[in-house]
């Protein structure tokens, strides 16, 4: 399948690119109402986005505090049980709400610990691809000419690869493990961000205040950092939020193929892979980790949708 880019016109209408210019107008309307305050006000009215945000915060808190309470109530997520034969692949019960795996480990606590890895991969990989994409997009748009051609052709080449195959091949080259998953997903994600940022810059660059800044002797880096970046940050925030979900999905796919996070560390993808062989007899082993991925990715998508609508100043006038 191909994933349409969130800023393309696919029923979640692309408004992100206009937000840059729109923000400039919003800034001078009144001192007390900032863009972000305004946006937050609108975001609050979007029930789905708020539920999504609450869910994301909940998962993050659970993942962060897991050490404090998970071992007491559910058993160590990585250590194997002493009486393995007795506690292996138990059906869901009060003690183990989602059963236990082959090594007698509680599935729920492994899913909770898996949240750490999956969320970290989502955030860090998105961070890497966003930063790379910003730099590449800025160079392409700001310097134009030969730089633009080289970077955009390079983006074409990256996008011509079948994505999953490319990530898998990349992991085969650099080896598996969580750091390499960051790197592979991060490096391969830059072209789409670079395109979005490039077009955002191109539209902001036309503004007179950029010319004015240059006339006053501002350096290129200063113009990009002080004038262009703040005016396209809204589209970047929206794009990055949605990308986190995509990165979580990619990590789960890699781990499912055995090319991601290395056992015994639980990631949601490895947990599904573990459960696959017991699909006939103990299906709950793969259901819970899948639900964890589904709910989290959905939450990031909904939050991204909400942010996009909230940050779009045009909507306020309509």
């Amino acid at each position: 399948m191909i994933y349409p880019s969130p800023t393309q016109n696919i029923g979640m209408q692309a408004k992100a690119e206009s937000t840059g210019a729109a923000k400039a107008n919003a800034g001078d309307s009144s001192a007390s109402r900032t863009l972000w305050g305004d946006a937050f006000g609108r975001l609050k009215k979007n029930k789905l986005a708020i539920i999504a945000a609450v869910w994301i915060i909940f998962i993050i808190l659970v993942a962060l505090t897991a050490d404090l309470w998970v071992p007491q109530t559910l058993g160590d997520p990585t250590a194997t049980a002493a009486n393995m034969a007795e506690s292996s692949r138990l059906a869901p019960s009060l003690e183990h709400p989602f059963g236990t795996d082959t090594l007698g480990r509680d599935v729920l606590s492994r899913v909770i610990y898996g949240a750490r890895i999956s969320l970290t991969v989502g955030v860090v990989a998105t961070g890497i691809s966003t930063i790379l994409g910003l730099i590449m997009g800025a160079i392409a748009a700001y310097y134009g000419g030969i730089w633009d051609t080289i970077i955009m052709r390079l983006a074409d080449i990256f996008l011509a690869f079948p994505y999953t195959l490319f990530v898998v091949a990349m992991i085969a080259v650099i080896g598996n493990g969580i750091q390499n998953v960051f790197i592979a997903i991060g490096i391969l994600g830059w072209p789409s961000i670079a395109r979005v940022f490039r077009s955002a810059i191109l539209s902001v660059k036309e503004n007179d205040y950029v010319d004015a800044a240059r006339a006053m002797g501002a350096s290129d880096v200063r113009i990009v950092a002080r004038h262009i970046f703040p005016n396209s940050v809204a589209s970047i925030v929206v794009y990055a939020t949605m990308n986190i979900g995509g990165a979580i999905l990619t990590e789960s796919a890699l781990s499912f193929l055995g090319m991601g996070v290395v056992p015994p560390n639980p990631s949601w993808g490895t947990l599904i892979q573990d459960g696959q062989q017991y699909l006939q007899t103990e299906p709950w082993l793969m259901i819970l980790p899948g639900l964890a991925i589904l709910s989290t990715v959905l939450a990031f998508t909904l939050l991204g949708d909400g942010l996009r609508d909230a940050l779009d100043v045009k909507m306020k006038d309509a």
């Binding site: 399948m1 191909i2 994933y3 349409p4 016109n9 696919i10 029923g11 979640m12 209408q13 052709r153 390079l154 074409d156 080449i157 996008l159 011509a160 690869f161 079948p162 999953t164 195959l165 898998v168 091949a169 990349m170 085969a172 080259v173 080896g175 395109r195 979900g245 999905l249 789960s252 796919a253 499912f256 193929l257 055995g258 090319m259 993808g269 599904i272 696959q276 699909l279 006939q280 299906p283 793969m286 259901i287 899948g290 991925i293 589904l294 709910s295 990715v297 959905l298 998508t301 909904l302």
Partner: protein, 345 residues
């Protein structure tokens, strides 16, 4: 038009060179000596090992394939750039090299596996087009109704779940639970393709993998269809048609649908290209003997000639499909002028 197509084909060249170059670099920085991997645990006879190195182009040979030695009696490693040039030359002659592990020609492997991927993609694209467009139309016509909400909900869920997990759920429901419920009378096969002694009719093997492959894109198709139709329904000419006294059904059939379908057809077309790239995950979950799974196995076995060969073929196929989609876009929508449109790949 001809000029545009020629320009696009010219643009293929740098992308193609870039893709093969990146693969070539990957192949050469990957840890492990491929020739040692062929031997596995066994100790290779030195002469056999040399011959293998020669046939796979790692050391210099003369025109007859004889190994060239330097004055010290050592073999000469072929420089990287030369191996890349040799690879490209062979490629242009339709020679994709030989598998390290199996010793078979990569072209033969592709010829054997690719039909499975193409068949699966064809079934999946039919599902995607029918279900996606149908759901999108219903959703747009009966906006905010129960059906619209259902479509929105289902598409949101499909887009957010890992496709391979969805495939496993289908296996669980239609392959295992349904079988248990009906006492083994009704069930769908959950892995592989029909063989000479299989229990199920051959076509049933396509159902679950094709649904899995189509799932995410069907959701996107439905969303695009819905938003496009709603968009078109707000246009002036639709209001004119309404004022003329046409019924809602006639307006949608005769006026709205044609225009709303154009972006949908483009998306479905591009997605067909993506499906022809093989689906590692779907093919793995269902043990489908297609090109995606083959490439994945080759990657794990460090069998780079297969990886390079399949990915090269896949990238070419995807580029050609995308070109066809872009050109047909211009036929479908006369407002599009190809010469000035920017190729967004």
């Amino acid at each position: 038009m001809v000029k545009y197509i020629a320009k696009r084909i010219l643009q293929f060249i740098p992308v193609f060179l870039g893709v093969t170059l990146i693969l070539f670099i990957m192949q050469n920085v990957v840890p492990g000596d491929p020739i040692k991997l062929i031997a596995g645990e066994r100790k290779l006879d030195p002469q056999v090992e040399l011959n293998l190195r020669a046939t796979h182009g790692f050391i210099e040979t003369d025109a007859d394939g004889k190994i060239i030695y330097d004055e010290n009696g050592d073999t000469i490693d072929t420089p990287l750039w030369k191996r890349y040039v040799v690879y490209l030359t062979n490629l242009l002659q339709g020679n994709l090299g030989t598998s390290y592990q199996r010793g078979t020609e990569v072209t033969a492997i592709i010829a054997q596996k690719y039909p499975y991927t193409v068949q699966l993609a064809l079934v999946a694209i039919v599902i995607e087009a029918i279900v996606g467009i149908g759901a999108g139309i219903i959703s747009a016509i009966k906006r905010y109704s129960f059906w619209d909400i259902l479509v929105t909900l289902v598409t949101s869920l499909l887009v957010a779940m890992p496709a391979f997990w969805f495939g496993m759920l289908l296996q669980l429901i239609f392959g295992i639970w349904l079988k248990d419920l009906t006492g083994g009378v009704i069930a769908l096969p959950i892995s592989g393709v029909a063989g000479p002694i299989s229990k199920y009719p051959a076509w049933t093997y396509y159902i679950l993998p094709a649904c899995t492959l189509a799932a995410v894109s069907t959701a996107y198709t439905a969303r695009i269809m819905r938003s496009q139709l709603l968009d078109v329904m707000n246009q002036d000419y639709i209001r004119t048609a309404k004022a003329k006294g046409l019924s809602k059904g006639a307006i949608i059939r005769k006026h709205a649908l044609k225009n709303a379908l154009i972006p949908v057809v483009t998306y479905v077309g591009m997605d067909f290209g993506a499906m022809l790239a093989g689906a590692i995950l779907t093919e793995t979950v269902f043990s489908w003997p297609g090109i995606g799974r083959e490439t994945y196995i080759a990657i794990t076995q460090r069998d780079w000639p297969i990886v390079m060969g399949t990915v090269t073929v896949i990238v070419c196929v995807v580029m050609i499909i995308n070109l066809i989609v872009d050109v047909s876009y211009a036929f479908l929508d006369p407002r599009i002028r190809l010469g000035s449109s920017k190729n967004e790949g």
